[in-house]
Amino acid sequence: MLDQIQMNLLKEVAELDALPVGAYNIRANGQSAARNTTANIDIVTKTDKSGIDIIIKPGTKRESVHIPVVLSETGLKETVYNDFFVGDDCDVTIIAGCGIHNCGAGDARHDGVHSFFVGKNSKVRYIEKHYGESDGQEGRGKRLMNPTTVVHLDEGASMTMETTQIGGIDDTTRKTVADLKANASLVIKDKIMTTGDQHAIADFSVDMNGEGSSVNLISRSVAKDHSHQQFDSRINGNAPCAGHSECDAIIMDKACVLASPQLTANDVDAALIHEAAIGKIAGDQIIKLMTLGLSEKEAEDQIVNGFLK
């Protein structure tokens, strides 16, 4: 059973107070703590390495899968492989997330590799939230997460990814790789906030191989204190397709943000656009909110919260 710390983490990453409805697999400190399968969604433990296979039958509609991971043991380092096999004509929501509570001296690390094989004309909504905490004392180990997401979209499939990392992770490299067949579409909404001396790298690589495929990558980030963020994206249009990426960052204090977007058109009908903006909070935004009675600090908080919402 899960203890109180683990339940808190679960609430942070999956907004769960109790066991979810539908299929789920809860992993706590390297072990499977709870699992449920449904008539349409099967979850099978891998035998060759750590992780699970999630198999969703063709035609499964309006079902969800929760696969949160919580770590509360210091010094625990794990790499987990979760593979999602989504059949044709499905419409499903997958909620993943990882919470680390580290109060020991050793580093705690979770590296998750999620691979999606999405069948023809299926719709997937994927939500992933990362969160770390400790008791705030000096000398505690770091909380590290390196998620990798690999997406294969078959013809006409669509996927929306909402990935969020708002606090508490010291070091992260998020890698997302995707390939799209004809008329497939991928939307990625990535939100990240770093504080203290945290480090975050977001690396996106998308290949649009089929005619009529499209990708929309929207990244919003806030870098505070001495933190460091890096945003790399590579969008390759290998067929008549449409690609758009937008990278918006608010920089505060002594933070640093590096954005290097890359577009490659290998087809004359590949329409690719990139927008990037890095800057501090605009002074007139703060003044506007102050004219509504907010203090400067409250105004800043509202702007940052809204930006990352």
Partner: protein, 243 residues
């Protein structure tokens, strides 16, 4: 009641924007007008606390507020609608309306205020105040925020700027209605005759000073007469047009 005493404002290289401005505002609806660059917006910003005067005093209901910040003045009951409304990525109309009214307002309350400015709450509450809204829409939301606050002094900096002619007719009605309903003072910077027409008093600001201040009946005929004479027109331009 708002009182400005000997207000001066200089910017770097000692350029004087306002010089010894004395003004008492105690009427329901006061319009400030005058040529561009004359110091109207600066004056409004000084009242809201966005600009700090280099000399002089500002009193609100007899209390000296010269040293108060923008947010302190807002809490005392001053609202300010920007000439160029500010856009926010991520913040929605709903969020701003809640911040303006200081509470989580109901859809019915917001609907009433937004429909005052000609917007349907259902269509707009969840819209972000980003580039997807037109200048006219932003302007109306800006006015709605001031209405939602309902403070004792509301300042509008050229609410008609950037609004198309059709919307302008509706906007006039908004201010006519505001005039009927307000319990406080409205201070509005405008060049529009129809707005000046509903003002109790008109302040004419020129070259950083108050050139004229009086009732509408006194000031408006003078302004219209000088506008007809049109002496300020650029001669190069008029020559070109004549050709």
């Amino acid at each position: 009641m708002l009182e400005l005493r000997n207000i001066g404002f200089e910017v770097e290289d000692s350029k004087e924007i306002l010089h010894d401005v004395n003004l008492t505002i105690n009427d329901r609806f006061v319009a400030i007008t005058g040529p561009n660059g004359g110091g109207k917006s600066t004056l409004a910003k000084i009242i809201a606390g966005i600009n700090t005067p280099t000399s002089g005093q500002i009193l609100l209901d007899g209390e000296d507020i010269t040293g108060l910040s923008v947010s302190e003045r807002a809490k005392k009951g001053i609202s300010y609608a920007f000439q160029q409304p500010v856009r926010f990525k991520g913040l929605r109309v709903r969020d701003l309306m809640a911040l303006a009214s200081g509470k989580k307002s109901s859809l019915a309350e917001d609907c009433e205020i937004l429909s005052e400015v000609g917007l349907c709450a259902r269509d707009y509450m969840d819209r972000e105040l980003n580039d997807s809204l037109s200048g006219g829409e932003m302007k109306r939301i800006e006015i709605a925020m001031v209405l939602a606050r309902g403070t004792k002094l509301s300042i509008f900096d050229e609410p008609e700027a950037g609004i198309d002619l059709w919307s302008f007719q509706n906007l006039i009605r908004v201010f006519e209605k505001m005039y009927e309903q307000t319990k406080g003072n409205i201070l509005i910077i405008s060049h529009q005759e129809r707005i000046l027409n509903i003002a109790d008093k008109i302040v004419y600001v020129k070259d950083g000073t108050i050139a004229k201040y009086g009732t509408r009946e006194e000031i408006l005929p003078m302004l219209l007469a000088s506008a007809d004479a049109g002496p300020q027109a650029c001669s190069v331009l008029t020559d070109k047009m004549a050709k």
